[in-house]
Symmetry: C2
Subunit: 395 residues, 2 copies
Amino acid sequence: MQRTAGGRPDVTTDAGLPVAPETAERLALSADAPPQPPGGNRVVRAAAAGHWERRGLATAAEQVLMAPGPAPLLLALLAVTGGDLVLTRPTAAWYAPQAELLGRRVHRVAAPAECGGVPDPVALLEAVRRARADGSPGPRVLVLSVADDPTGTVAPPELVHEVCEAAAESDLLIVSDETFRDVLHAPLTVVLSPAESLPGRTVVVTDLAAGALPSGWPAAVARFPADGPVADLRAPVCDALARLGATTATPVAEAAALALTEPGPLRLRRTAANRLHAAVARAAHAALLEAGALCLPPACGFHLYADFTPLRPALAAHRITGPDELARLLPGASPGHRFGDEPRAPRVRIAMPVLYGDSPEQREAALASADPLRVPHVASALAALGRAFTELTDA
Amino acid sequence: MQRTAGGRPDVTTDAGLPVAPETAERLALSADAPPQPPGGNRVVRAAAAGHWERRGLATAAEQVLMAPGPAPLLLALLAVTGGDLVLTRPTAAWYAPQAELLGRRVHRVAAPAECGGVPDPVALLEAVRRARADGSPGPRVLVLSVADDPTGTVAPPELVHEVCEAAAESDLLIVSDETFRDVLHAPLTVVLSPAESLPGRTVVVTDLAAGALPSGWPAAVARFPADGPVADLRAPVCDALARLGATTATPVAEAAALALTEPGPLRLRRTAANRLHAAVARAAHAALLEAGALCLPPACGFHLYADFTPLRPALAAHRITGPDELARLLPGASPGHRFGDEPRAPRVRIAMPVLYGDSPEQREAALASADPLRVPHVASALAALGRAFTELTDA
């Protein structure tokens, strides 16, 4: 398990794969590039616009901002909009701290049974109504994650529509985290962006760390609507990024511009990465179910969100009573409370990339294989994960 | 004049010089380096510790944090300490926004007559006393800038001692911005760090954008005391950086580790850069005085802080009544209010690097010259600046 300098388990986004040669080359050629302005220069913003155009979202460079990672984008947006934050339970770990830093409240709404990343629409309406009843400014921004980390699920389009309707009825601005929309396990999976369902109220945020760039190169892009009140937030958000000193490192921004134009070799590499993520997640999911845990079937990304509630008696026999103990004993696992889940619920996020190999060469071999489960070190890491599940839970 | 995407004049730190070949090479070789943890990995923290050791400040890697620029370091520190911020008037533009973002007050204290970057000690005591009289938590953090941007002055050691005594008496934590401590116009200038004068209360912050790295590669390092209550802030500040997603881009951190070890070729380049900054600032200073403006003699950095107050009648005849008009008409100038000065005071910061050349080749030639004022494009840029001064102010 990767750990931060502070010793906390890593809850960041890291596909665990070596950098593409084309991307490394662009970095190496970018030492002399002029500094990026806050929000990104025209080249990188146009590249991001093209990326969204190819996904059915007409976009001009003037609608785009780039930042060194998604967190400063959300922080700047919250600083500009005021009001509290509404999140699904669980969510990616980086959303809540931006509101907390500004002294804003975070309201958590449960996900429906079938997927994570979006709240149950009826529960959302009720939570916002209740939160506003005490007269405070109340909820203002809702983060949705249609292709979700940590749950690895893709919310069905009709549910996304319903949630967007509930958000509009609740007068919420939507931040659509689309970091994982290209990390699909089945290429034909339909991902409906809230920017299609509720265009005037949606800001799309895409962290490039899920595959477009190495996770150590912080870069993210945001897409604002073409017009209306949410479009008018773009300039003050850019100004807030400038005040935060949140400009993207020049060589990283140049590499991001390349990645966002999606040249052929990088598209092929993404296809290979998705094959690897899908195969390993499917196998780990099967092992989880076999051990008796609950877990929604993975459809995107490289994480599983495992619920050991049915195994509580067996876990208790091993003196495991909460998610921290589980996270210590399982490779690649982080406790669910880091994702906003209930503090003692026996749920963990499990990162697949720890199974891809210990060296860059091993990870490159896993990426290159047409059948990743037959790569010996991947097979043995998966077997070890399966043993860890059964050792935890045998009676 | 450089401008941000939002169209605001640039108030950042940019020495305006091409990247050193050794630094570019390190970047190019760093594409495969593993992600940096929040706060920086041991290699870069040890390199920063060595940098401070060579400046007389015994430092262990465990006292160091790295961040993608100085702003997240101050933001994280303020988030952890609570309380308001005390600044000199004027100061670097990036301090105040971090407090404002957190909803904290900023108290401005005038500098003494002889230099900028540190407040008048008596005025500091009085300002803190007054600010606390209303019962609010009040001032908690004081930023000092001994080798100062925007004023280009170096505070004398006895004054630094007095200010540190006043800070201790006022129970303030000191953030010592030492970004410009190596950009000295005379090599033997004595720079007393508040970390020497008041070691237990001082956090040193150094932005590498003043010369160690290109300004578009955001990286800064902070040095905490070895022990005591301020040392104990390091871990929570690192945790706040993690929550902000403020990790340094891997290739930039690798280049920073090289720069902080100060190999011979980079030391020589710094000497050349300082010669250029000193020569151009001295010439621009003379032109300012000749035009009748006020300006403290430059001793460090690459900015002048010009006060056109004595020329108000002449400026009024040209319909120039404030700093924004001045900044529009003078190359490299930004209005003083961006640095916390009074909104209508006719004062501007003037950046020397706009005079070093329009192309990387011209800037490299200015850097390489033993007598930069004889480089034709530098001489003609200085002459144009002098003409701009006199055109503004002729009667």
